[in-house]
């Protein structure tokens, strides 16, 4: 009996010891805010659905670390002039790459996630260089650079993206407000997808992969797209119905058959992929509003 009581006491002591450790574990986690951290990381992972989850999580946490470092560190920068310039330009590049990473997390079709990421990127870039520019928005130079990076990341070559950028770029000294920023990012994302689709379209029109497509067919196809884009009057729903009637498979079949009949020769004039892409891009860019 005495042994039992002693072992009971010993067990009680051991229990209280373990309980003490468990309490401090929970306290430790709660203090560090780890629960919140992990929850945010998992939410971002689910939103982004990247193929490399471990790499994604690694980038996410390294971004957090550098943000935490630069936050308190960026304010206290009372050093010599040229050194400060160097530092701030390196900082800028870092902020820019971080903003681009945020923008790449969600596709523009996931509207709310995409808008959230734009907000985060905008805030990042507004803070960057805040000692110089006012709080009116993102610096024009940074904005233009970011748009260029977006276009190249989306697979667009410099020549394809140039006419678009000419329309929506901003001068170096201007401050870009949030609404313009969002429009610019969405336009670049939509344009990248558009060019990819136009390449698929060219592949579909040129039924034989090794030969370029017939010029007349390309013209007819692009003509129907232009006609559909030109339906501008009426309420939205009526406009959509009318435009979709113009690009239905039956309409396209008829348009292509009409054109094909006239050129019975096998070796008619052709249009190569580059020209087709440029013509399709022109249709899109013509409808982009110029920044003013």
């Amino acid at each position: 009996m005495a042994e039992k009581r002693r072992s009971g006491v010993g067990a009680a002591v051991a229990d209280s010891g373990k309980a003490g450790k468990a309490e401090s574990d929970e306290e430790l986690l709660a203090q560090a805010g780890v629960g919140l951290l992990l929850r945010d990381a998992l939410l971002k992972l689910v939103e982004a659905r990247s193929e490399d989850p471990i790499g994604f999580l690694a980038e996410h946490f390294s971004n957090l670390v550098s943000e935490a470092e630069s936050g308190p560190g960026g304010g206290a920068g009372a050093e010599d002039g040229p050194k400060q310039e160097e530092q701030s330009s390196a900082e800028e590049q870092q902020q820019l790459s971080r903003a681009l990473w945020h923008l790449s997390l969600a596709h523009h079709s996931q509207r709310s996630a995409f808008n959230n990421n734009i907000r985060v990127a905008y805030d990042l870039l507004t803070l960057c260089g805040s000692s110089r520019s006012g709080s009116g928005g993102v610096q024009g130079r940074l904005y233009t650079e970011m748009l260029q990076c977006l276009c190249s990341e989306g697979g667009l070559s410099g020549t394809t993206a140039a006419p678009l950028l000419r329309r929506i770029r901003c001068h170096d000294y201007e401050a870009v407000p949030y609404e313009l920023f969002r429009q610019g990012v969405l336009t670049c994302a939509a344009f990248a997808d558009y060019i990819r689709k136009s390449q698929c379209l060219y592949a579909a029109v040129a039924s034989r992969p090794e030969r370029p497509a017939e010029r007349a067919l390309c013209r007819a196809v692009l003509g129907t797209l232009e006609e559909a884009l030109d339906t501008s009057h009426g309420a939205d729903s009526a406009r959509f119905l009318e435009a979709s009637a113009k690009i239905s498979p039956a309409k396209l079949a008829r348009a292509m058959a009409e054109v094909h009949v006239t050129s019975k020769l096998q070796e008619g004039p052709t249009m190569d992929a580059r020209e087709f892409e440029d013509a399709a891009a022109a249709l899109f860019i013509a409808r982009v509003r110029v920044v003013s």
């Binding site: 313009l180 429009q183 939509a190 797209l225 979709s244 009637a245 396209l252 058959a257 899109f284």
Partner: protein, 212 residues
Amino acid sequence: MTGNPVNCTVKSPVALQIGDVVSDSFHPGVYITDIVLGEPVNIQEISFKNYYTAYLTVRVLKKEVGSEEAPAKWVTCLRNHCLMANPHTEEGSQDYFSLYRQQMLMQPDNVTTVRLILRQPSSVWLNFNLEEIKIYPVMNEDSERDVPSWLSSITPAEEPLDMNGLPDPDAVSSSIQQMWALTEIMQSSQSSASIGRFDVDGCYDINLLSYT
């Protein structure tokens, strides 16, 4: 089908009585109600709610078309139309009625005034009347709501096309639809947000700037 009723003024009923209206205490058996129309109307339908009227006679004042000098004529359209099968009982006493053009003896065209002659021979009912009188004009067959041209050309009756050697229209159409949708997305996201440039053709020369 019936469209909207025409604006009309219904005058208060006038009783037909022998003798003095004020001193005699007999209730009248005949009331006459006139309805004046703003402009000449081709009547399609007259609808009303009955209140214990037994028999109804409808006369219209038709205006002659073309000749302004010829006086308008009174024409009987309905004679002793029975509203209540038995004047002493309740049946049909508070029903809704519609009188159509086809029931009338003469074509009610170019009508300026409609006269309703109400008769109630029974002594059971103290008062009788017609309420909620509405007159509907003839509607035109061709209304302005037309089918848009693109809708009528969706399903043409044609022989099948020879698609030999042509690209697959389904694949082409699907790519074009996506391209169209992307352009629409871009266009709909454009607002009038501006960055506030005030230069004239890229130039900020002070002579070109204005106060507005």
